[in-house]
Symmetry: C2
Subunit: 223 residues, 2 copies
Amino acid sequence: MTPPGPAAPPSPRSALARDKLMRTAERLYAERGFANVSVRQISEAAGQRNNSAVQYHFESRDRLIETILSHHTRLVEKHRIVMVEALRERETVSLEEHYGCLILPNVENHIEAGTPTWCARFLAQALVEPALRDYVLQDHLDTPSLRLLDEIGAIRRDGIRPELRARHGTMVRQLSVHAFAELEYDLANGRIDPATAEESWRVLGQDLIKALCGLTTGLLGPR
Amino acid sequence: MTPPGPAAPPSPRSALARDKLMRTAERLYAERGFANVSVRQISEAAGQRNNSAVQYHFESRDRLIETILSHHTRLVEKHRIVMVEALRERETVSLEEHYGCLILPNVENHIEAGTPTWCARFLAQALVEPALRDYVLQDHLDTPSLRLLDEIGAIRRDGIRPELRARHGTMVRQLSVHAFAELEYDLANGRIDPATAEESWRVLGQDLIKALCGLTTGLLGPR
């Protein structure tokens, strides 16, 4: 894969423009949906005089979206790799600890970013769009922390047919992504008081871990 | 809510055009994504000479999408109401039976429709699009069979805070919708042999019921 954007390292001014375009795109897509935002609207809302700013800086809408996704993957990875490395030393790892490593880095990322965030609604849309889906799956599955977490192996494998393992992985991913998007949506629309955002993200994290442990035991049987 | 389409009952020819537009829209949206299909492309692909056929027959893109969703809701409801009515006579209802009523009508609907289907990928996209989301939630929550299923009450309620109940409902819906979309996607793209479609839908149904029972017990505690 070629790196996104122009081949030469971007100038500070160009880097700033790229950053502004990424933030603007994420917000507009999250609020209105991929189908209801043009790249021209993104350029305009980001204060770019050139209507083709997205094409210039990112080549295409899909590459812009992929760049935003990678940015968030890196932020979450920073938290997750620390947690997973700590688990590595342990003799046994419980399902709760396994899912803690999956979910809590996202909780921290949302709390650090402050309210409102847009990344969860953005990711949820990317995950269901046919043209972006495979990129999302690859980008999110292929991080060092998730590979390591998989090797640690708290999830039952013996006697589980490969299709069922794959289905389990898909369900875990879908439930997590869409549950984060749901809370983000409720916070953005005032259904949940933004003053309680930090506590709400933490409660969601704990609820999701419980739900995922239950789902796993229900689908794969007790370990 | 006013009924979709022209106020007068449509002529047979008009009804045919509407049906063709709905099928074409569902297929194109499922395959390419809401963001990558214009209403003009739908009109053209449906063989309509008038480029404004979608506006003429449905007023807008959103109303077209809502009409397609309602159509599927009715098809599934037909199966589900029979199953739920049968449960009503029973003294106790297990979680498995409860989720059977939720999931198996969708399994039957996919099998009846033959391969490929598009409705699951279509619904998954509608559920995450900000402008359509509330309509989907309302349309899908407010059917007689689902209200009745809720009254039968196999899901634990005592001592469960209302936010947690709502979150549980959301998780169940998200997991179900996206799991059906995932299998539909795999069948459409040949990752799963279409010759095994019927069996694959049935296995998905059983896996989903197990996953939902586990999720429910994990999140709400044993009943």
